[in-house]
């Protein structure tokens, strides 16, 4: 049940911002790590000749 609060807009916006920033702090490093790992795997595949290019 959602509590009925005075100044609801200000309170909920604050808690929403908190949730948004915490979620971003959680997701951003994971997205970046996924990108770095993909790059590293691609570089490794190019070095070893195991690169499977679908457009080739």
């Amino acid at each position: 049940m959602i509590p009925q609060l005075d100044y609801a807009f200000y309170v909920w916006t604050s808690y929403g911002l908190f949730a948004l920033i915490m979620t971003w702090q959680f997701l951003q490093p994971r997205l970046r790590r996924r990108r770095i790992m993909a790059e590293l795997r691609e570089e490794r595949a190019l070095e070893t000749g195991g690169y499977d290019d679908a457009d080739a």
Partner: protein, 251 residues
């Protein structure tokens, strides 16, 4: 003997593979701790604590605002300690951690300023006032952004980190200014309500959610710091042999 073991274990943290492994192991536990603390804290803040007799429910914003403000300053102190270690002993993993702390600290400072405005509008009748506490907090945000910008401006990451670490030390002067601004100048912002030493002016029934949220954001800071440092290490060491083992594990 124990001290020697501790010293050896501490020095091993300077080794990138060991540091990477530690980040990978610790981070999920810190995130889990944050989630538990935040859920308990938010539940108490929204459902259990009574409304304030003057401010009504608007004071519930402070359960976000105050932990964010404390963490913005505590994060800077952590970054300063890391910067000193990085400058004196030139440990690369510590340099990386010092630089990884800046965006998290900036996020907490921005959250503190935004929630302060959201509380200020209904209570003070204005979103913003150029008083000493608010202005010094805004300066903290600019310092964090300056450190991030300076670090990013160098192609040589190690040189960038060392220069940015010096800026971290210069910016430290702002932390006591923020803390004592409400005592040194006449400000619209209220004085300290919660004291570590001495009696707090906040009603005891309102303290538990604040404590939960404060512990929660500290755990989150640690978790996000390890996550970001781990990524920076991966990025910087992409040509090193130990990274191949990491990719091998994941492939």
């Amino acid at each position: 003997m124990n001290f020697h073991r501790f010293k050896v274990a501490f020095h091993r943290l300077g080794s990138p593979p060991t540091f990477h492994k530690l980040c990978r192991l610790l981070s999920p536990w810190l995130w889990a701790g944050f989630l538990v603390c935040a859920l308990v804290g938010i539940y108490q803040a929204l459902y259990l604590v009574p409304p304030d007799y003057q401010q009504g429910d608007s004071y519930r914003i402070l359960f976000i605002h105050v932990p964010a403000a404390w963490q913005a300053m505590a994060g800077y102190l952590v970054m300063t300690v890391l910067a000193v270690i990085a400058l004196v002993w030139r440990i690369r993993t510590v340099e990386i951690m010092a630089m990884a702390a800046a965006p998290i600290g900036a996020a907490f400072t921005a959250l503190c300023l935004a929630t302060g405005s959201l509380w200020g509008k209904p209570m003070w009748g204005t979103w913003w006032a150029w008083d000493a506490r608010l202005t010094s907090m805004l300066v903290l945000l600019f310092i964090y952004l300056g450190i991030m910008g300076l670090y990013a401006a160098f192609e040589d990451r190690r040189k960038g980190a060392r220069v940015a670490c010096i800026l971290v030390l210069v910016g430290l002067v702002n932390i006591p200014l923020i803390h004592f601004s409400v005592e040194w100048w006449t400000t619209l912002h209220q004085g300290a309500t919660i004291r570590l030493f001495g009696e707090s002016r906040m009603h005891p029934s309102m303290l538990p959610p604040l404590i939960w949220m404060t512990i929660g954001v500290k755990l989150m800071f640690g978790a996000a710091l390890l996550d970001r440092a781990r990524n920076d290490l991966l990025d910087q060491d992409r040509r090193k042999h130990w990274i191949r083992e990491v990719i091998g594990d994941k492939a």
